[in-house]
């Protein structure tokens, strides 16, 4: 049985797009299977020898990848319709019999080429919500504030967000016709507002997500937690930021 598997090939159907704003089209490929094979290994085979199953020599499929161990977030794409990292997508686990594995670029970001998309908006959103500590400087200022192990256990998972874009891709409220900021940046607001020094500037971050395109835009579909590869409690984050924003708005209004 082992030998059968070794001579087996894996079929892939890849959505191609030559450049930004160009029409999409499909190519099918077959590559040799090997144990523990992931989607990236399959793409690497195509890259070496870009010939379709119908024998047509084509340009190699372009995709983005860096760490190959699901900590950098680069290789995110839609695999069989579900958004995820392609490095941790093991072929044996996602295969559906003889049906090809379908690869598409994420749909909520502009395509650069083939499976590569431009996620700059996510990094711009991190600027908008001021996702940083207002450090006085990198010179010697002694240790940071003491924190309990419990608070570390709460913030560490939030801090593992790779800005991969899965949550935006899956969110029905994020679309070309909406300016909803999406779960990732909102969760960062929560992260920094929990930190003893970050907290000192909590209102600036809350104000950044109040109003148009802010936390109110969440439709509570909860798709984000379903697809987050790091299992970040995004729904909790949005709820917590939402409550804080409401409180800030009421108090801010009372104080005016």
């Amino acid at each position: 049985m082992a030998d059968d598997r070794r001579s087996r090939t894996i079929a892939l159907k890849v959505k191609r797009q030559d450049g930004p704003g160009q029409p999409g089209y499909w190519h099918e490929f077959a590559v040799p299977w090997h144990p523990r094979m992931n989607v990236i290994s399959a793409l690497m085979e195509i890259q070496k020898n870009p010939v379709t199953t119908s024998g047509q020599k084509v340009t190699p499929v372009v995709w983005e990848c860096v760490c190959l161990e699901e900590v950098c977030g680069s290789c995110t794409m839609r695999i069989n319709g579900r958004v995820r990292q392609s490095c941790s997508a093991l072929v044996d686990a996602i295969g559906r019999g003889d049906a090809p594995i379908v690869l598409e670029p994420m749909s909520k970001f502009p395509v650069v080429r083939d499976l590569v998309v431009d996620r700059s908006r996510m990094f711009e959103d991190l600027k908008r919500v001021k996702a940083w500590i207002n450090l006085d400087g990198s010179h010697e200022l002694g240790p940071g504030p003491r924190q309990s192990p419990e608070s570390q256990e709460q913030t560490y998972p939030l801090s593992r967000c790779m800005t991969c874009g899965c949550c935006l891709e899956a969110c029905p409220q994020v679309s070309a016709s909406s300016d909803f900021i999406g779960p990732a940046a909102l969760s960062q607001v929560r992260l920094f507002n929990l930190h003893p020094s970050g907290k000192m500037h909590a209102s600036e971050r809350l104000e950044a997500v109040m109003g148009e395109g802010g936390v109110e835009g969440c439709g509570k579909a909860q798709n984000c937690v379903e697809v987050c590869p790091k299992e970040i409690p995004l729904v909790d984050s949005i709820a917590s930021v939402g409550r804080a924003a409401t409180k800030h708005m009421l108090l801010g209004w009372l104080l005016k």
Partner: protein, 667 residues
Amino acid sequence: MAATKSLIRSESGRVRRVVVVGGGLAGLMTVIKLCEAGVPVDLFSLVPVKRSHSVCAQGGINASVNTKGEGDSPQVHLEETVYGGDFLANQPPVKAMCDAAPSIVFMLDRMGVPFNRTPEGLLDFRRFGGTLFHRTAFAGATTGQQLLYALDEQVRRWETVDVEDDRGERVPGERMVRKLEWWEMIGLVTDDDGTCRGIVAQDLKTMSIVAFPGDAVCLATGGCGIVFGRSTNSIINTGTANSAAYQHGACYANGEFIQVHPTAIPGADKLRLISESVRGEGGRVWVPRDPREQRAGREVPESGRDYFLEEKYPGYGNLVPRDIASRELFKKCFHEKRGVYNRESQHNENEVYLDVTHLPRELLHKKLAGVLEIYEKFVGEDPYVNPMRVFPAVHYTMGGLWVDFDRAANGSLVMGSPRNQATSIPGLYACGEADYQYHGANRLGANSLLSCLWAGMVTGPAIASYRKNMARSAWDVPSSLFEKAEKREQKKFEAILGLSGDENPYNLHDELAQTMLVDCTIERHNPTLDKVLAKIEEIDERSRRIGVTDSTTGKMNQGAQHVRHLRNMVILARVIALGARNRDESRGAHFKPEFQQRDDASWLRTTMAFHQAGASGAHDGVRFARSVDYSLLGQRVEVKDDVDTTLVRPRPRKYETAGAASAAAKG
């Protein structure tokens, strides 16, 4: 020295920027220090900086804060680092780094890194290789990622800060940091005096090639593990920028020192790291005593297990330095054929067990979840229940661009000296894994995050002071210099696009990687190294007959980019293999069975390599030198290849004995 009138604006009124290439920890730290010194920066990165290879560092960062009352100190850290590095590191930079380590970790703490905590709310520290102390601060088992994110956040903040001119007025439209992500540095711009004036870079989305002036250039572009193909490195770690600088005349030092990490998951696309912190928290390495053991790892009783590292090295046990652990694992599997037996294939695999199943689940979850999750996701087995199966993998580049240092009277560094981290090309600096400075012949675990940050902290002020004292800004150099460099690189790229030979560049890379991996890593024999060198020449030859897989223009083209990377890797491979061939001794990660002793009389020196371009049709060569001669701000500097060992006197390494690594540390 005639300093220019304004430090912010050039004579033609443009904002004078410095170029930093690489957005990992070292590059970002350099950027922060430059911004704090009021220097505007253009930051180039192959990938969005948040995706840099620093994210892969797992276990932690060393700092002798001594919160466990063990008597640890920066002095012990220095001693253990240079001992671990088999005395090949210049000691003043190491001393400065170890002295600064506690304040670096405190800075990270202030930046919001979610370090693990003690019950009292202090930073927690764990054990790592080559020491008996708890010296490693950590954020779960994704410390590199957490550190990179903290710096990324600070640099993002600087992206929103306006440049102020000398009178303190905002310069409209100019921010302190301008990020050029998805831009690859492909060449340097040097003037007639050989001073670096900027870079030529390629926009990877459109493949357009543009020259950028920079008052100074800093390469923080990491190591070159991909020369060896599959490794623990990210796919982008080809060393291509370092290779370009080397080909432009920069000295490359200690190329032959490549670290092989003892514990990684074997895989077809990558050898995923299983952090040393797993052993730091109590993980044990073993193989079955019976080489034909049929039972699964978890079913083998204690009496049937050979904890070979603990037996041979009772002092440091599973936490002997990586060079030693890797050799022992290799010996066990490759020479003794005692690796884990595979019932299906009926032979002993090149795998040993790394076992954490005896440790409390809660401890594993709090301190190691990030790495155990990688094992579970990619192998499909639960490491909380089944001992993991691992094997050594190429991991870290100790060698790199040669960089200078300015020694202070107290044995540390003169901070702010423009000599610190300066390469042999004036105006070109290097830091992080891209430089060769801090780890000698073998890096200790959890010293890489530290050396990246420290080197960045040194490079920022060094460049600021270089820039203050330079006679003429790069932004006032005639534009023809940049146009010429731009044309040179455009021509090279067009040549790649026109390649229509029959050699597949990916197969050539596989062949290069295979020969380097098999014959130029853990054990090196001179006759096989000769074969490696012949193979490199063959690949070099064949690489001229490549057929480019993608010749489209005007859009992202990874096929053509790979050809450039391949050629640059071939050139670095030659430096690595020739350095190994020449060095007839064993030191740290460089081990020759025919020359098992360290030979301080002949080889306690830095390997200094310079590129020699072959005449038309001939192979490129390497010129090894005994000194580096360069000129900085009008002054000639000559640095010999002697290693500065003035702080800790070299002695043979004996990890069999507890506390051997530091005279002050008895454990």
